[in-house]
């Protein structure tokens, strides 16, 4: 709990040190935790005002009356705890579908239900788009060339459209986004990818395309305000939450699919073809939109999960890395340079980067350095150390490897992450020594987003050309 609000924090309207201003601040503080709903606060305010009037009629000054009345009504922490006990459902916030009892500030019930309908419509549209290629004789299959390359183009536009609508994106900007998406789709489909065994560029494009195109969702999400680092940080938070919601929905979808197959089998009907070519792809497409909407709807209502996970796992990963380094030093065993070594270290850096990013995203930038910050720094530094050792080992044998598209992509990702983490470590050291503000780390991470997107775009669009589509 924070300290009692000062009168200066009162919202606009009344001069802060007047009685009105103090009552406003008191009420704002009361409503903060979410346990006291707005009608409840009104009821308590009525009580407070009547008490103040009584006390003033007995000759107290306004300030004295306010103080005594607030004292009589009780400590806000204790009151809100009592309210939370009585109204426990308010802390387990309802997820909007019913729309009742919601007291999110700033949006009315009708706005909320409209947003629900837009999201549902777009989810169905995404599901339909997923099957639209069937009109041209292309059946859904992740084994053929078409869907892995184009699934992104069939889903992302609807997620972007939802945010374009929600944020009121200017029409010109929407047209630009749509145009760029269409151009990208035409380009990758025009690429004459080689189907020879060992050809790598198609696969590289398939896995880098979603990262590059995520930028379009990002632009829609921030409502065109891409230059604001705060908005970009919001987008990072959104991405983490979206991932978690999508996984949760996918788990539910898995149960649904298992039941569908099992039940229809009981009456002798083979449901698998339907599940594979309809339920799974359409469900996934719809789920992407629904998950985006859920994140948007419950944002600021429940604590974000991604940072919580990051906080739980950052110390554990730090311990794991330290143990690994200690074992390496103890046994004197060098890193064994196998084929997959770069990929393994890329994954390590991605995980460390994710832990750092989501811990940073939820940290109060004004808080002074604490234990968790030291853990993060240790985590980053030990990951950097390991990666440097791995790169050293690989560099020594680079001539044996040769530069295939896969290796260049893996090496590039490694360098991109290495630069990010190295700079983060430097900023962190500065912060822990008290010479740099924590917000520098925010700035660095949010501006580095572009580097990821650019790198993904290079691999997705330029690599096929550079490596002659092999």
């Amino acid at each position: 709990m924070r300290a009692e609000p000062k009168a200066q924090e009162a919202s606009v309207g009344a001069p802060p040190d007047s009685i009105e201003g103090q009552i406003e601040a008191w009420r704002a503080y009361l409503s903060k935790g979410g346990a006291v709903s707005s009608p409840d606060a009104e009821e308590l305010e009525d009580h407070l005002r009547e008490q103040i009037e009584r006390l003033r009629s007995k000759g107290l000054s306004p300030d004295e009356a306010f103080l005594v009345a607030v004292k009589r009504i009780g400590a806000i922490d204790a009151i809100t705890r009592e309210y939370a006990r009585e109204h426990s459902e308010r802390l387990w916030k309802q997820l909007v579908l019913s729309g009742n009892g919601s007291n999110r500030s700033g949006s009315s019930a009708s706005e909320e239900s409209r947003s629900t309908w837009v999201a549902l419509t777009l989810a169905f549209a995404a599901a339909a788009a997923m099957k639209a290629p069937a009109l041209f004789g292309i059946e859904f299959s992740m084994d053929e060339a078409f869907y892995p390359l184009n699934a992104t183009f069939l889903v992302f536009p609807f997620v972007a459209a939802y945010f374009a609508w929600e944020r009121g994106l200017p029409r010109l900007r929407s047209i630009e986004l749509a145009g760029a998406l269409v151009a990208a789709a035409l380009l990758v489909n025009a690429f004459p990818f080689s189907d020879a065994p060992g050809a790598q560029t198609r696969f590289l494009t398939v896995i880098h395309l979603p990262i590059a195109l995520w930028l379009f969702v990002g632009v829609a999400y921030v409502g065109g305000g891409w230059s604001s680092s705060g908005r970009r940080m919001d987008f990072i938070r959104f991405t983490g939450e979206l991932f978690i919601y999508f996984v949760l929905i996918a788990l539910g979808g898995g149960v649904l699919i298992a039941l569908v197959i099992g039940l229809f089998q009981a009456i002798g009907v083979e449901a698998e073809p339907f599940v594979e070519s309809w339920l799974a792809p359409c469900g996934a497409a719809g789920a992407a939109v629904i998950a985006s909407w859920l994140v948007e709807a419950k944002q600021s209502v429940i604590e974000n999960i991604a940072p919580v996970l990051a906080r739980i796992f950052a110390p554990l990963f730090t311990l794991m890395l330290l143990a690994f380094i200690a074992t390496m030093a103890w046994t004197g065993q060098g890193i064994d340079v196998g084929r997959e070594i770069l990929i393994a270290f890329d994954l390590l850096l991605v995980v460390v980067f994710g832990l750092l990013l989501y811990s940073v995203s939820a940290r109060d930038p004004l808080a002074s350095p604490g234990l968790l910050d030291w853990i993060h720094l240790t985590l980053v530094v030990s990951a950097l150390l390991l990666d440097a050792l791995a790169l050293w080992a690989i560099g020594a044998r680079i001539s044996d490897f040769g530069f295939t598209a896969n290796r260049v992509a893996a090496l590039g990702l490694n360098l991109v992450l290495l630069v990010n983490l190295a700079r983060s470590a430097l900023v962190y050291v500065g912060f822990l020594r008290g010479t740099v503000a924590f917000s520098q780390l925010w700035e660095w991470q949010t501006s580095y987003l572009q580097v990821f997107v650019i790198w993904a775009a290079i691999v997705a669009f330029a690599f096929p050309v550079l490596f002659r589509f092999s």
Binding site: P39, E43, D46, A78, I79, E86
Partner: protein, 125 residues
Amino acid sequence: MNINKDLVAASSTPLVLAILAEEDSYGYAILSRVRDLSGGELEWTDGMLYPILHRLERFGLITSRWERSESGRRRKYYRLTATGRGQLLDEQRQWLTVDQTLRRLWSTLSESTDGAGLSPLPDAS
């Protein structure tokens, strides 16, 4: 005199129900009434009354409605329901039983110890 917190909590339901049995009322008035009746001995933290009212409402013992007060502010009034009236009678029986039991004990105590430490009780009537 400081009345035990548990006792204050336990007596809150019959007190609120009984006050509302007289007439519909709102938070501040209920508290003033308790204060007057107890001669200021029964002190509640004002804010704690409202969660109690909300709980009683959830159990269907009272209902609430918003009205405009003479000062122009919106004010929430509470009214006793039929279930609440039944509950009040039940509470009344329980409290009377406790009261009678204790009175009997007090009186035997004051007879046997000849009032050592215990003041004579006012008449039960």
